[in-house]
């Protein structure tokens, strides 16, 4: 009898939500308080990010700056022909956003490629290509320190709700949802790493594991690989919508691009 009671108590403990100071208020809610992943990396990596002369991500920002003012095609306009770089401040903080022209949610990479095809009459840059990563890094770096705030109302609402469902749904061989780690276990250890809240504010970021700069979608694919789930191609709507959800979740966190992460 005692044993049955003990087993029942154990089962009840398993079923109860895990108490954690970092847990979201409700499933699919925002973590309170939001905490940048910068607080979870080793001090040496944080120092690397803080120093522009040492931050390896600045290599891509510099290259992006060169691409920004380079004429596209034989004699096409450069990005800088129409846009002052300073005018890009805040752009990365309010994307992804609904685009009426595209009829879907677009992220910064989509916006750059849309400008390339419609205004510069050039073929789009491939997702994950070094040029697109560099341009994205350059544009995002203009927003450094600007708090993230995206709009998830109106036409973006269905996409946002799809992404929230994606975030909270268990998937893959490991049967984990994003929320299983980044809400329920945030701040705890996974081997010698501290599990972050999974915020997008450092991206595009230089990852030591990649030995290169990479987009947020590349990072999301890496997370899906880790839980042995299906990895959609970079640029897939499901990943772009997830970016929107993550930006909503990181509301108020400053853009850190180019970040440095392990």
């Amino acid at each position: 009898m005692t044993r049955i009671v003990a087993v029942a108590a154990f089962a009840a403990a398993l079923a109860a939500p895990l108490a954690s100071p970092c847990a979201a208020a409700e499933p699919g809610g925002r973590p309170d308080p939001a905490r940048s992943g910068l607080g979870d990396v080793a001090p040496s990596i944080a120092a690397l990010q803080a120093d522009d002369a040492a931050n390896p991500g600045m290599l891509w920002v510099d290259r992006g700056a060169a691409l920004w003012s380079a004429s596209v095609g034989s004699n096409g306009p450069a990005c800088s022909t129409c846009h002052a770089a300073a005018a890009m401040k805040g752009v990365a903080a309010r994307l992804p956003a609904w685009s009426g022209a595209a009829g879907r949610v677009v992220d910064l990479e989509d916006r750059i490629d849309a400008c390339r095809t419609s205004r510069q009459h050039a073929p789009p840059l491939a997702r994950g290509s070094e040029d697109l990563v560099a341009l994205t890094a350059f544009v995002a770096a203009q927003s450094r320190g600007v708090p993230i705030h995206v709009s998830v109302d109106g036409p973006a609402k269905p996409a946002f709700e799809r992404a929230r469902a994606f975030y909270t749904t268990r998937r893959g061989q490991m049967n984990l949802a994003c929320t299983s780690c980044h809400d329920d276990l945030a701040g705890k250890r996974l081997l010698n790493e501290t599990i972050s809240q999974g915020h997008p504010n450092a991206f595009p970021a230089y990852r030591l594991e990649w030995q290169a700069m990479g987009s947020l979608q590349r990072r999301l694919r890496a997370c899906l690989f880790g839980i042995r789930a299906t990895m959609p191609e970079e640029g897939a709507a499901v990943l772009t919508e997830l970016e929107l959800y993550l930006a909503w979740r990181a509301d108020g966190l400053p853009v850190e691009a180019p970040g440095v992460r392990r």
């Binding site: 040492a54 390896p56 030995q211």
Partner: protein, 106 residues
């Protein structure tokens, strides 16, 4: 396309040692790795890095397979007179690269 950054102080005093920081985008492939089908990936590291200040060579380095991708070099040079500081390199594939900065001696 090779790309690199160089950072020097905006102004330095004559006779003073100033800090130079260089980072170079390079895979620094060791030659010990194999690809997904087991074929060995040829070694490609920066064979030689040469730093010229004016006409003089102030640093010459051979970076081998022990240096990680995107090498970051930090060193000090004594300021003599205003002039270009040029970093030149060539990798195992024979691909050359260069990055330069102007040193302003006050």
């Amino acid at each position: 396309m090779a790309f690199a950054r160089i950072v020097v102080p905006p102004r330095v005093a004559r006779g003073e040692a100033f800090e130079v920081r260089v980072s170079i985008r390079h895979p620094m492939e060791t030659g010990f790795r194999v690809d997904d089908v087991g074929k060995s990936i040829p070694r490609n590291t920066l064979r030689e890095v040469v730093v010229r200040y004016g006409d003089a060579i102030v640093l010459r380095a051979s970076l081998g397979s022990g240096i990680a991708a995107n090498p970051y070099l930090r060193f000090f040079v004594t300021a003599r007179e205003s002039g270009p500081l040029a970093v030149e390199w060539v990798d195992d594939a024979g691909e050359p690269g260069t990055v330069r900065a102007d040193v302003n001696v006050a």
